[in-house]
């Protein structure tokens, strides 16, 4: 059942998770604490809430710094995709066919190359001062945008496009109400929100993947400053735990944060489903 209550419940779950991640990001220290060799690899019971790493530093600090790296760029990237999708849907309803054609051409061009290849080229040619997650996330958003715009335009097209708007105008509704309420809120919302949530989640996963790969090579990541630590650090510590070190709690925390991101994106999607 896609009742209002169920959707509302998913909305609450999404908001709670988002608030949790934002609170975590807000409490992120600028630098990690000094290593404490008396508190090495303590579990969550001995060093609440998440335990410590192999230098005695609280894993909470890693989680907070990781959240501060991803939250703003990921949300902004998702927002960009939502805005572009909304525009594409509105354009279809306004009957501007030449923009439709331009979107299809852009979709064809942008979709021709593997996305991660484009991301790595962008990471290479970005000036070192700009090497943060934001330009990389925005690139990912722009790569995902043509597909999202195409879907939003197709949804608006199925609605009737220009004829739908004309019919509502004949009923005496204002243009603002027709476009923003009838088209966007009632009909495009589910597509737009799903695309935005997916891109937000993908940008978080992208950061984790790129930072993890850099860690595997013992090189600094191009998604954040050297003084900051991504959630990938937790996963890398977890990887060493799988090989025998005493840091399994780091793995669980890393997986928990990844799962929280995925659940948040799914909850956003489910909360915006069409009736």
């Amino acid at each position: 059942m896609r009742s209002r209550g169920t959707r509302g419940l998913w909305g609450v779950v999404a908001l709670l998770l988002l608030a949790g991640l934002m609170a975590l990001a807000a409490t992120a220290p600028e630098f990690l604490s000094t290593p404490d060799l008396d508190r090495i690899a303590l579990g969550p019971g001995d060093a609440p809430p998440f335990g410590t790493d192999d230098r005695g530093i609280s894993l909470l600090e890693y989680a907070a710094q990781g959240a501060s790296i991803v939250v703003a760029p990921a949300l902004f990237s998702g927002f960009v995709v939502m805005m572009l999708s909304t525009m594409a849907g509105l354009v279809r309803c306004a009957g501007l066919t030449w923009i439709d054609g331009a979107i299809q051409v852009a979709s064809e061009l942008v979709g021709s190359l593997p996305r991660l290849v484009v991301i790595l080229v962008v990471a290479l040619i970005l000036p070192s001062d700009y090497r943060t997650l934001l330009p990389i996330g925005l690139t990912w958003a722009l790569l995902a945008a043509p597909g999202a715009m195409d879907e939003a335009a197709a949804t608006a097209g199925r609605l009737g496009g220009e004829r739908f708007v004309e019919a509502l105008k004949a009923h005496g509704f204002s243009g603002v109400r027709i476009y923003l309420y009838h088209v966007v809120w009632l009909n495009l919302r589910s597509v737009i929100v799903r695309q935005g949530a997916e891109v937000t989640m993908h940008v978080v996963f992208l950061e984790i993947a790129l930072s993890y790969l850099a860690l595997r090579r013992n090189e600094p990541s191009f998604t954040h400053a050297d003084s900051e630590f991504s959630w990938a650090t937790l996963l890398y510590q977890g990887y060493t735990a799988l090989l025998g070190s005493d840091l399994m709690h780091a793995l669980w925390l890393g997986l928990g944060l990844v799962a929280a991101t995925a659940v948040m994106a799914q909850a956003v999607r489910l909360s915006a489903r069409a009736r």
Binding site: P114, L120, L124, S128, F205, L242
Partner: protein, 303 residues
């Protein structure tokens, strides 16, 4: 026809865009690739990569060298080693990885289209697909290293890494669920069409009637999935330790080896162009097939 032209243009457009972006960014391209603060020999690099005589000179020189297979020598990934050799050495692993990863996708798509995989299981595939490739690869790489230790990169363990990498690529990041759900939904939409129902009443098979009409969409999906796998191959190759083109590209980016990155990107653009060209040719073939009247229709008309 537009796709065919795009396929032909792609290997030229990709280095052209990189060239344009390099010169559009603030600062000299050589300083972007090799920032003076953290890197020595910016001027020498500019001359070596023809960056000192402007974008047109750089682009034409690079393309004309690339056509002859000359990408220069690696600067940092493997110092002094010809980039072309690095590319050739890494291509088989990536091709194998992507090829093997396509197996579960194609099998799954066929089974889903035939209705042998129940729709009820879709949430399960989608839940599995939510797992990022990096996480799944992390667990499997650890398992291989625990089992085979220091010898886990050659022989059978090396092949196992490749197989497990293909499994990760095929399952993670919604690859399998997308193939199952996408193919099934295309078929379901087509089977609801009136002409298919009439064909059933005439005693013809639904597949032979629907297939020509769904093939363009399926071919498009197949290309998109292959591109998705090629993208994911970068992550899987590095985490699983598979010496492929993705790993080379990532190492090049991480170590700021401009020659390696440009050549690897060009190799990816060539593969993408082949995919795009194949899609275009397949669509033309399907269009010709659809235009020629089916034998059943001709017989019916004659009667």
């Amino acid at each position: 026809m537009v796709r065919l032209l795009a396929a032909l243009a792609l290997p030229i457009v990709v280095p052209a865009i990189i060239t344009m972006v390099l010169w559009a960014l603030p600062g000299h391209p050589a300083e972007i690739i090799c920032p003076p603060g953290i890197c020595d020999g910016t001027q020498a690099l500019a001359e070596r990569w023809n960056l000192h005589l402007g974008p047109w000179h750089f682009f034409t020189t690079w393309i004309s060298n690339a056509v002859t297979g000359d990408f220069g020598n690696s600067w940092r990934v493997q110092q002094g080693f010809p980039v072309a050799d690095l590319i050739w050495e890494s291509l088989p692993a990536t091709s194998m990885l992507v090829g093997l990863a396509l197996v579960p996708l194609v099998v799954g798509a066929v089974l889903a289209a035939a209705g042998w995989i129940p729709k009820l299981l879709d949430p399960l595939w989608q839940a599995i697909g939510l797992v990022p490739a990096v996480i799944l690869a992390l667990f499997l790489a650890a398992q291989v290293e625990i089992t085979y230790g220091a010898l886990s990169f050659g022989g059978w363990p090396g092949q196992l890494r490749l197989l497990l990498g293909a499994l990760v690529l095929g399952v993670a990041d919604n690859a399998l669920s997308g193939a199952l759900v996408g193919t099934r939904s295309v078929f379901e939409a087509e089977l609801r069409q009136r002409y298919v129902q009439i064909a059933v009443l005439r005693g013809e098979s639904t597949l032979s009637n629907a297939l020509p009409n769904v093939l363009p969409a399926l071919i498009g999906q197949f290309r998109a999935r292959t591109l998705h796998l090629m993208s994911g191959a970068v992550v899987v190759e590095v985490v699983m330790g598979v010496p492929g083109l993705g790993e080379l590209l990532f190492d090049g980016t991480l170590m700021q080896d401009f020659g390696v990155v440009l050549a690897a990107t060009w190799a990816f653009s060539l593969m993408s162009a082949v995919l795009l060209g194949s899609q275009a040719l397949a669509e033309i073939a399907v269009a010709l097939w659809v235009r020629s009247s089916p034998s059943g229709v001709a017989e019916g008309a004659a009667a």
